[in-house]
Symmetry: C2
Subunit: 243 residues, 2 copies
């Protein structure tokens, strides 16, 4: 079994991890009016999960989140923001971990470190999914983008983790607009409204939206060039970096 | 030493706690244009700290936060909301814990569970401090309210934890209406504005503030009673419970 060596190496790392603490990453992807989320599909068991993992004793939880995302999906250079820690006593049963490891030839005892109680610190990000091509890791057949309206049943409490991340993303949309970096350098009010409508999953009234966006004080209207056409071109904006 | 028995009982509980996970509570108190925070002052060492503690294997982190606040300050029936998890590799040194325990007659070895790395899940609440009288626990001489502008140096990263809680409180003021349970059933726009100004620590323009509050769609204007006085009394509002 070609994967058994790296999986054994992973299992042997148990003592190097901080007990009880795990990290899960919710990577939202936006492109052309679609909102997606990055999921892994496990080998053999075909279970779906968020990219997640454990925290080394010698790293911060922020460092762990960045490393885990990279190790499990090949995705890097993404700014991850912590949004919530999931600390229910029973966050789901670990049968799926037992089954996954068993399918790779490792039978875990009930006392095994991987089957203990973990809280999970959730991190999220919003990226352009057309620019991010995930590659699956040793545990996964597939790392791919799934439409937010068509998310399969996930292991443990991972569907709830996505719900909470989406709630945070929507709540923070105004505050974090600059950081998300999804728009091109200049954009029209139409393009900005499409981004909002897709993430909020509802239509917005143009006049209200425009008034609210302009009142945030972060948009700068770019000087119009003479287009030479008969129709009046739309105003173009950019983010005011001084704000 | 009269406190040594309960402190020994606490230290003996180590194996019942979830390793690596602690909880800290930031309880903000508002009353008459003052914003305070609830702090404990340790016995003997006179160090200051947030009310904090550890999570039993048999409880959720939310349950732990409620229990810890009650055990350490006698304060209960407060809705605590999680705001951030602090996961730096070195969140401060544990000398203060060693010194505290030593002052009670317990010399801890470096491998002692209390001196291991812990992440801390932060919870916050906003209450009326005139209605909450904290009582110190076995570790503390004093549990008292400190003005937000006069917070002493605290153990570990607790000053940073308060900063982050305050940032969250301010960011959430509109979204969660966290402050509204602090007002009496009916209130004037003036009273509401004072609450906001105290929490945000800045003066607000009356016209803008009123427009913004009314646009939230949660305030209901109460029918005015004829006052019999010459001056026009201010409008009185209450929260529209149907919203």
């Amino acid at each position: 079994m070609p994967t058994s060596q790296p999986i054994k190496a992973f299992l042997d790392k148990g003592p190097e991890y901080l007990p009880s603490v795990s990290v899960d990453c919710v990577i939202f992807g936006f492109h052309e009016n679609q909102l997606k989320v990055l999921l892994l599909e496990f080998k053999h068991t075909k279970a779906f999960a968020l990219p997640g993992g454990f925290v080394f004793k010698e790293e911060s939880t922020d460092e762990a989140a960045t490393r885990i995302l990279w190790e499990r999906t090949g995705v890097k250079d993404i700014y991850l923001e912590q949004f919530h820690t999931f600390g229910e006593q029973n966050r789901g049963n670990w049968d799926v971990h037992k089954a996954t490891m068993s399918s790779h030839g490792f039978e875990l005892e009930v006392e095994h470190w991987l089957l203990q109680r973990f809280i999970s610190i959730g991190y999220y990000a919003l990226v352009d999914f057309s620019k991010v091509q995930p590659t699956p890791d040793i545990f996964s057949d597939l790392g791919d983008w799934y439409d937010i309206h068509q998310i399969p049943a996930l292991i443990l409490d991972h569907n709830m983790i996505i719900d909470k991340a989406l709630e945070t993303l929507r709540l923070m949309l105004d505050h974090k607009l600059v950081g998300f970096n999804l728009l091109s350098e200049t954009f029209t009010m139409n393009e900005l409204q499409s981004l909002y409508e897709t993430i909020l999953d509802k239509k917005l009234l143009r006049a209200n939206f425009q008034r609210k966006m302009l009142s945030l004080g972060i948009l700068e209207r770019v000087k119009k060039k003479f287009s030479g056409k008969a129709h009046k071109p739309p105003y173009v904006y950019r983010i005011n970096q001084n704000q």
